[in-house]
Symmetry: C2
Subunit: 316 residues, 2 copies
């Protein structure tokens, strides 16, 4: 009997990934696209239908276990509805029902992209050897998914995991969510880049600007990493501060939840030791000894593919 | 067949409670004692043995389901060992084995007192109608227990629930745990009282001092509540600030865990609306709308008996 496979879809505001995956989460085929203009739900569904057709050219539909979709936003997983997604510009989109009309016989699962990523980190990276895992996505924003007692933890209304909106500085800068001093305002790619752009406006950060070909719009975590590795003081300070700030909030989470693994993914995490060293130091300084010794902090190896792999794994 | 009962023991640094309980957590008999001098483990065990005898005078041992002990401190629940308890002055005390020698046929369970309290809040107060509950104890210190997905959540090494050592102010005052700006440093009974005593030293808080019969050592949450209710500005400010500060951290926990219930217990919680009103306002201001609407914040009705009731319920 041939191996059963699943289809994973990672649905973000700028890009969509569709993959054919083994039961263990190995990618057999991967397709990437830009999200259709204005991300109109029907256009997104058509794209998924069309590209799934391409994906399945060499695989019979009866070998497909099901399809899992990880969508950026607040998802009602039981009804398969994207309740709200600022990135997609969606509100109450019944994604599973829309897909159901086109995939009549396929099992369909819709969940939040951070939950999908956490599930992939748990199955593929931690290989289910631990029970409690936090998967942190340090991208344009800061998100997270939680595996607690070996299960995806969704909370009372399915909106658990908003690590980026835990308060770091109670009197800090205003966040779009309405709170002040959210972690996301300090350690997301957007926050780091904005910080540097402000420094440039006041005459600092010349070296970083040169690395960005004198175009502030080109400053991104990769430029900031390069600058720090070449000895730029501002960039080094920025990474050190980001690691410490993330460490302050993660130390709180470690004291509260005592997880065995924390997996970091997303553009900001790719700076590796630049952020990990101050992060680990801060956790040692601030968290209780027992849970600080218990927790392993790792960079995701799947990283950008966590979402699509996790979405596919949710179909099992 | 007569009803089966359980024995609950709440083991704290200053007092011990032993109760006979129904399966639903109703107290049939309750005994209270001071913790023996220096809380020597053998003396504590002897006290429990002796008083359990008193408790069982009218109940045959075969009607007893088992005994649960909730101990203040870090407990290894699988081995029944109190790993460390600053309140009892214990380190690696094999409490279950010590009790086993005296209660040969009884099922014995040892857990952390905050976990026991959370379990009682879940079974007796929330009546298992929700899946995710945080039980906060606002006493001399600040502790908590978590029920997630309908189960006691212990974390990777059994030390989850240290809400009091989540960071409120990253640059705040040093805590005995080694961290800076822990929540406990701002909203525990000890913190509130210390704050007022410092105010008195600088010539403020005269009204509060009078209510404490001019003895700063007599200032406690009850005095501070009375003062606030009689219109004392300092006391009112203190409660308002405590509610807001607790609200900042709980808003973070609500964004991360999206619990359906938060139960408040302990001396500081007895101020009721004085702390609840600013607390709820802060959560509305700072937490995401969906999880903020999902969560119900209540005062525990069992309050001081949560620990002993929960300990007994753990025996089932």
């Amino acid at each position: 009997m041939p191996e059963k496979l699943s289809i994973g879809v990672d649905l973000g505001g700028t890009g969509i990934k569709i993959a054919l995956l083994s039961r263990e989460g190995q990618i057999r085929k991967l397709l990437k696209f830009s999200t259709p203009w204005k991300a109109h739900p029907q256009a997104v569904v058509e794209l998924i239908v069309e590209q799934t057709g391409t994906l399945l050219q060499t695989v019979g539909p009866r070998h497909i276990q099901g399809m899992g979709i990880g969508a950026a936003g607040d998802v009602d997983q039981t009804r398969g509805v994207v309740r709200i997604s600022p990135n997609l510009g969606w509100k109450n989109v019944p994604l599973r029902d829309l897909l159901r009309r086109r995939f009549k016989k396929l099992s369909l699962f819709v969940d939040n992209d951070a939950n999908a990523a956490a599930w992939a980190a748990y199955i593929v990276e931690a290989k289910r050897r631990v029970k409690n895992l936090l998967c942190v996505t340090l991208g344009t924003g800061v998100g997270s998914g939680l595996i607690l007692n070996g299960k995806l933890y969704r909370g009372g209304s399915g909106s658990a995991g908003e690590l980026g909106h835990m308060t770091l500085y109670p009197e800090g800068s205003l966040c779009a969510c309405g709170n002040q001093g959210c972690l996301e305002r300090y350690v997301s790619a957007r926050a780091l880049v904005e910080h540097v752009r402000r420094a440039i406006e006041t005459g600092h950060g010349k070296r970083i600007l040169r690395l960005a070909q004198n175009d502030p719009a080109r400053i991104d975590p990769i430029v900031l990493e390069t600058a720090a590795r070449r000895g730029d003081g501002l960039a080094q300070h920025l990474w050190d501060q980001a690691g410490e700030r993330l460490g302050i909030v993660l130390a709180s989470v470690i004291n509260l939840l005592n997880p065995e693994w924390i997996v970091l993914a997303g553009g900001v995490s790719r700076a590796g030791d630049l952020i990990l060293t101050p992060l680990r130091r801060t956790i040692q300084e601030r968290a209780f000894e027992a849970p600080a010794q218990c927790v392993k902090i790792v960079l995701s190896r799947l990283d950008q593919d966590l979402g699509v792999v996790g979405a596919g794994l949710l179909a099992w």
